[in-house]
Symmetry: C2
Subunit: 64 residues, 2 copies
Amino acid sequence: MKNTIKIHRVTHDMTQEDLANRLDVSRQTINAIENNKYFPSLELGLKLARIFKCSVEDLFSLEV
Amino acid sequence: MKNTIKIHRVTHDMTQEDLANRLDVSRQTINAIENNKYFPSLELGLKLARIFKCSVEDLFSLEV
DNA sequence: ACATAATGTAAAATATATTATACATAAAGT
DNA sequence: ACTTTATGTATAATATATTTTACATTATGT
């Protein structure tokens, strides 16, 4: 599974901390997701899509 | 968070066990998700959307 | 009524996501 | 060069998803 969080975040001119605050999660969580340490929860995925005004599938894909 | 898994599953004429097998998870996992015991992982959410040929947002929504 | 299939549910165990804290490095501004 | 901001990383602790096993209940078919 890969994701495009970092691209969207930078496009939206946000730091990892900015994004973490908007989502009410820790900065480490954002960092870990961007660096593929683990996959976020479905709830976080939906919230991220909402913030970036795109679909969950735009952010995450199953294919490696 | 609510979901429409059961509706899609029944529409596709599958039992909880059928779906569990296709996803390679236990039947209890499907049952728990349908009955809102917990939210599935993002990976499961993406796989469910793929099976039902719809978007993750069609299956799960953040609103209560 | 009986048998079978499908579903609901529960408790303990395991896997994984997330937090907290902390420190190291890189980038940017002055 | 110095300071500040942003990012990468590590470890231990906590929260949550998932499995396993098992049994109860509901629906369906005969």
